[in-house]
């Protein structure tokens, strides 16, 4: 099942340019002295690396280290500022996405490139439609394309119809469709940018199986990830980037994990040391939901409480109802049943403006589409929700105070930016997330803080900063509810974890009972642990 053991490919940066000397496996893709500047920022500097045929190269690095940029250049989506890219040893000038695809390079980016209004089979064959009689301007061969799609879905173990519209798929299923679409094109070089960040555990296993198959078939794979265990499972070579420079280039089986981690962060980081305070179980109940029900049965009667100073985690596989629950509480979407009680006061007619006034804060999971105004600057984005606190009675913004307070709350989260007037779209993912979180530190602290995947796609350093601020806020009496698909994160951060399945919390684990295995069992509905249900 695992691809056969290969002779080590040569990875010394000085020699990789010379294709003829590259060990036993031919080099599929390499770059030499690659540099990329965005405005005044060097995103990549002097990057030289190579990917061998039939091997998987793991690109590691904190957010903003330049991984996505590098993949973007390989795929022809971005033009390098200096240096060159070679595909199968041939130098590529004027690399465009079309040219890259012609040479067999395919990419799966973090932003999916599916057409929402089309079906799964239409998307999988988009631009590569099969036609009756092979005449490419003729009639589409729908039957064949459906059949091929069904085979692909089946081989991945994904139980959806080829006729489902992308609109109706969950994020993780859409991600799988995107991967299958690219897989179906039989690329010689496959670039995957955080392929597993949206996937469930089962889907991740299927993906790894697929990757092993592709490696055996001679495909060369370059992928980025934040998850250390993935490197060991599918990676053959590993390259670590830090601030756009290569800090480590080696083979996975010869490189200890500690070395990779320290190459990423540039400092020793064995375990995250988070001092979590003891919650006061006699503290007042700040948040309570009573039999909350959403439309489309995504949430079917959720009753949860959270006390002042408590950090409550929500676990569950994708689609278990965690996001629907949070959005329902905050008041995004259609009609709801049940009640939300904040500080003993029931409030109906929920919508974001009223929720914020009632002391509820929400950090959405999708920071780019639901969180930030990307074209606007850092200050504007930081102060957006609490702008009233900086306004004169006539509605004029007091900019001095606004800047000062924004800067203070951004600094508390150790956000990196060039200046406050910089467009927030230019920041890395981790720093964008910090901007989003800093909104709720800028003025009066909220009563209830809802965090939906607060560290998705973020490097270790930024994660620690965010954990610290969450713990600090809880210590000051904020009731915090964190939804996350990463269990270790919840187990580190939370006083209790409610495990969702089918739109209902099946069981609440207190910190003393935390066990990754038990929680996963409840989440996937397996075994006796799933039976005990608490309200």
């Amino acid at each position: 099942m695992v691809g056969q053991v290969m002779a080590p490919a040569l990875v010394q940066p000085e020699h990789v340019v010379d294709v003829t000397e590259s060990g036993s496996q031919p080099i599929s893709l390499n770059c030499a002295k690659l540099g990329k500047r965005f405005g005044h920022t060097d995103v990549l500097t002097n990057v030289t690396l190579s990917a061998a045929k039939g091997r998987a190269l793991a690109l590691m690095g904190e957010n903003g280290a330049g991984k996505s940029t590098l993949l973007g250049i390989f795929a022809g989506l971005l033009t390098p500022s200096s240096g060159g890219v070679f595909v199968h040893g041939e130098a590529v000038e004027n690399f465009t996405p079309t040219e890259a695809q012609r040479r067999g390079v395919q990419i799966v980016t973090q932003e999916l490139s599916l057409v929402p209004a089309l079906t799964v089979w239409e998307n999988i064959h988009l631009g590569r439609e099969l036609c009756l009689g092979g005449w490419e301007h003729g009639v589409l061969d729908r039957r064949h394309m459906r059949k091929r799609t069904a085979e692909l879905l089946d081989s991945f173990g994904l139980n959806i119809s080829p006729d489902t519209r992308i609109d109706d798929l969950s994020l993780s299923h859409a991600q799988v469709v995107e991967i299958l679409k690219v897989y179906n094109r039989k690329p010689a070089i496959l670039l995957l940018d955080e392929p597993t960040s949206a996937l469930t555990e089962g889907e991740t296993r299927s993906l790894f199986k697929l990757i092993h198959q592709m490696k055996s078939a001679g495909t060369s794979i370059v992928f980025t990830t934040h998850k250390m265990n993935e490197i060991g499972q599918i990676g053959d070579d590993v390259v670590v980037l830090r601030d756009g420079r290569i800090t480590l280039n080696g083979q996975v089986d010869k490189t200890p994990t500690d070395e990779i981690v320290s190459a990423m962060v540039g400092r020793e980081l064995s375990t995250i040391d988070l001092q979590l305070h003891q919650p006061n179980y006699d503290a007042r109940i700040v948040f309570e939901s009573r039999n909350l029900i959403t439309t489309k049965d995504k949430v079917e009667g959720v009753s949860l409480t959270c006390r002042a100073g408590e950090i409550l985690g929500l676990a569950g596989i994708a689609g278990a109802g965690r996001t629907a629950f949070m959005e329902c509480v905050f008041g995004i979407g259609g009609h709801f049943g049940g009640d939300v009680v904040i500080n003993g006061r029931t409030y109906s007619g929920r919508r974001p403006g009223r929720s914020i006034a009632a002391g509820v804060a929400y950090v959405p999971q999708d920071r780019k589409s639901a969180g930030l105004v990307l074209a606007q600057d850092v200050v504007t984005n930081t102060s957006l929700t609490q702008l009233n606190a900086f306004c004169t009675p006539l509605g004029i913004v007091r900019r001095g105070v606004e800047r000062e307070r924004s800067e203070k709350s951004l600094t508390a989260l150790r956000t990196r930016y060039h200046d406050l007037g910089q467009e927030v779209g230019e920041l890395s993912g981790g720093n964008q997330q910090k901007v989003l979180l800093s909104r709720w530190l800028i003025s009066d602290q909220p009563e209830v803080l809802l965090l939906n995947e607060p560290t998705r796609g973020i490097d270790v350093g930024a994660k620690v900063d965010i954990y610290r601020i969450i713990a600090t806020l809880a210590e000051r009496g904020v009731a915090v509810i964190v939804s996350s698909s990463e269990l270790p994160e919840l187990m580190l951060l939370c006083h209790a974890v409610a495990v969702f399945r089918n739109g209902v919390p099946q069981r609440i684990f207190s910190r003393g009972e935390f066990s990754e295995e038990d929680i996963i069992r409840v989440a996937i509905g397996e075994g006796a642990a799933a039976d005990a249900s608490e309200a």
């Binding site: 929400y362 639901a370 105004v373 508390a412 150790r414 530190l441 600090t472």
Partner: protein, 340 residues
């Protein structure tokens, strides 16, 4: 106020260095597009001024501004709508409607009170159409293009109905003085557009409302999740756009001494073109009212220049359209905005 002192890890930098040095002085891409337009503008104005010294005389400059004052007012309102990623096609019809309303009211009266009333009625007629647009866009979730395409026709129809398709001539001197009068030697309409500009620009730039307009246009969903009163903001820009078009209609009817339904037909072209030339993105959330002012002046100057040069009005249409396309192309090419 919350205290945010949280102990960071010792010894790590919190902030990247700020941009310093001579790089700051050079124009970045975003400003370059504007500069190219200014330079092109200069290449048009300077030779023309040498060939035709009258072109840069104070009286001609004032007449350019006077001619563009009606356009400027509707373009300001249109800019607000475009900043929220919408479009208002009804402004031209509103100009006609408000002119007719004002002319009907002033007909047969001579007192200053009736002048005031008719001016306000003209503005109110525009605001009412804007309110209708805004309610449909913000509360019924109708696309602005469809909504205002409908009101373009409806407002024009209402104007024809209440005027019975007639031209209503205006002979009230106080009313005619709105366009003909001067305040401190400056024609009144010019004073009005600069006042309107100052108030709108200031409020857009320095107020909470202005921030919200940009946020709603930049990312509607994020604005909603951030708790902004999205619907009210959307409603407000359509009402303001309608009211400004109403005011423009009053000024225009005073200028041409007649209220007629077709007075503003086709004005939406300039109203949309000016902000777009001035760098306001049709996708919303980007641009400044200064750009709109520049766009209006640019279009007005070119119109005026072509008239001085005796270019046939038929060709003027072609040239005006070409300028719009070229100006926006420069912006897109310089900013390297891609289709995908």
């Amino acid at each position: 106020m919350t205290n945010l002192d949280i102990q960071p890890n010792a010894g790590s930098a919190t902030l990247a260095p700020r941009r310093l040095g001579i790089g700051r002085l050079l124009p970045d891409r975003r400003r370059l597009a504007g500069m190219i337009l200014w330079i092109a503008f200069a290449f048009y104005v300077i030779p023309l001024s040498i060939a035709e010294p009258n072109f840069i005389s104070l009286s001609n400059i004032l007449s350019i501004l006077l001619l563009t004052s009606v356009y400027a007012l509707i373009a300001f309102g249109e800019s607000l709508v475009i900043l929220t990623a919408g479009i208002d096609l009804s402004v031209g019809s509103i100009v006609g409607l408000s002119g007719v309303v004002a002319a009907l009211l002033i007909d047969g009266h001579s007192s200053a009170g009736w002048v005031l009333l008719s001016v306000f009625a003209g503005i109110a007629a525009g605001a009412a159409v804007g309110l209708f647009n805004g309610v449909l866009v913000a509360y019924v979730n109708l696309p602005s293009f469809v909504t205002t395409l409908g009101t373009l026709s409806m407002a024009l129809g209402v104007a024809y109905v209440i005027s019975s398709g007639r031209q209503i001539s205006i002979d009230n001197n106080t009313f005619l003085n709105i366009s003909g009068g001067r305040i401190f030697e400056i024609p009144t309409p010019i004073v009005i557009i600069f006042c309107a500009f100052a108030v709108l620009w200031g409020y857009l730039t320095y107020s909470r409302w202005g921030r919200f307009v940009y946020a709603v246009g930049g990312n509607l969903r994020a604005a909603y999740v951030a708790g902004l009163p999205v619907r009210k903001i959307l409603l407000s820009v359509y009402v303001i756009s309608g009211a400004l078009a109403g005011l423009a209609g009053v000024i225009l009817s005073s200028e041409v001494t007649v209220g007629v339904a077709s007075n503003g037909s086709g004005y939406e072209l300039v109203a949309i073109a000016a902000p777009v030339i001035g760098g306001i993105s049709l996708a919303g959330g980007r641009g400044s009212l200064f750009g709109t002012l520049f766009g209006v002046v640019l279009l007005g100057t070119i119109d005026n220049g072509m008239t001085i040069l005796n270019v046939s009005p038929f060709y003027q249409h072609i040239i005006r359209g070409a300028i719009i396309v070229v100006a926006v192309s420069i912006d897109i090419l310089v900013n390297k905005r891609r289709l995908v």
